[in-house]
Symmetry: C2
Subunit: 227 residues, 2 copies
């Protein structure tokens, strides 16, 4: 799978989370990494080049810190210019491609809920991206959130790293198919080296994916109950 990562961050080099993620992507094969604020410090987007990059990719990743509950301006300039059309009947069509978001936030995930400090969910704040994906016929992946990176434990960071690498290299379908095989192998490894941090990270990542699946199933059950 060919993945194009577009990073929007006005101070990329001074961001520990962004540097961590970039390092995690460097060993991967078909991943292109483009830091918009470095390529276009004056917001002068090369529209044709950006469209070529996007044509190449099977998956587009928008990666950014949350600024005013949205992406930094460089990404909005990119969207407005690269996807500019005369009218709705000439929208680009990216059916077959996937759009994923990688969002870092200085606020804890649990603040993003009704009654929490931020009052609304991240899914709600990111609706403009979800609806844009829908409009352009991208498949929209669940946003990948890294919250309070600077306070995260090494084990948490390792889990995020594995999940990030999975996001950049596997579709959701691929992942489902490979999961059983992976769990088998890891359990064998864990018997041999129960204190290995990387291994604990990988098993943590899988555990979180299984939790997500359980959440989804109970959400679906609730929705069916409501209808």
């Amino acid at each position: 799978m060919r993945t194009l990562v577009l990073v929007a961050h006005p101070n990329f080099e001074s961001s520990s989370s962004q540097n961590f993620l970039r390092a995690g992507a460097q060993t991967l094969g078909e991943v292109r990494y483009r830091i918009l604020d470095q390529i276009y410090p004056d917001f002068r987007i090369d529209v044709n080049e950006e469209r070529r990059q996007l044509d190449w990719a099977d998956q587009l990743i928008f990666q950014f810190p949350l600024y005013w509950y949205s992406a930094p301006a460089s990404l909005k300039v990119w969207q407005d210019q690269v996807w500019q059309t005369a009218d709705e009947t000439h929208l680009p069509n990216y059916a077959g491609k996937t759009l994923g978001l990688v969002v870092t936030t200085g606020v804890a995930k649990k603040a993003f809920q009704a009654g929490g400090a931020e009052a609304f969910t991240l899914s709600e704040f990111l609706r403009p991206f979800e609806a844009t994906a829908r409009k352009l016929q991208f498949t929209y992946r669940p946003p990948f959130i890294l919250d309070q990176f600077q306070y995260a434990s090494e084990s948490q960071k390792m889990t995020w790293l594995i999940q990030y690498q999975q996001l950049l290299t596997m579709t959701d379908t691929d992942f489902g198919a490979q999961q059983d095989w992976l769990v088998q192998r890891l359990r064998q490894l864990q018997v041999k080296s129960p204190d290995d941090t990387l291994l604990a990270g990988i098993l943590g990542a899988i555990q979180m994916n299984q939790d997500d699946l359980a959440d989804l199933q109970s959400a679906l059950a609730m929705m069916k109950g409501d209808l």
Copy 2:
């Protein structure tokens, strides 16, 4: 009330709805109109000047067409730069000021609902602005939406014009206090000239406000029932 209108629109002069709104604002007293894409065609915001303008205002209006379910990039550049802070403890505090949105959309309002063509509500798409207002302690007014301006009847446009002028010059509280007095006067006028378009527009605007109030009351009743 001093109102600062910040318009984000890459092609302001060719927009019939924006020209209509600007004409409607010209007769009003303490209203400043700033078209960001004209003042800053290269996105080079004069941060100090923008902060001075905002200090002057009791009310800030963000006015824009919906681009990718959000504002055009010029407004995000403005937000990122004018409200940039070292950290969350140094956020500006606009308690006592009001933030309102004026949003034009080429799609009919009814598309913005579950099961509609756009799948989500405009309130959801505009959550980043609502949460930003909350974070900076602005009072957030209900977004004022003008949908499919080019197909609107003259009577609809007149209604919008009155509502827009009310938005720029009155707080919600002012409006409540003046409504009874206004209805009295208008009924007297209507008896005299039942075919007057302006009058029909004004009465339409009041009717819509009363509908909004009724909607709110039934929404509240439903929420109480749910809890």
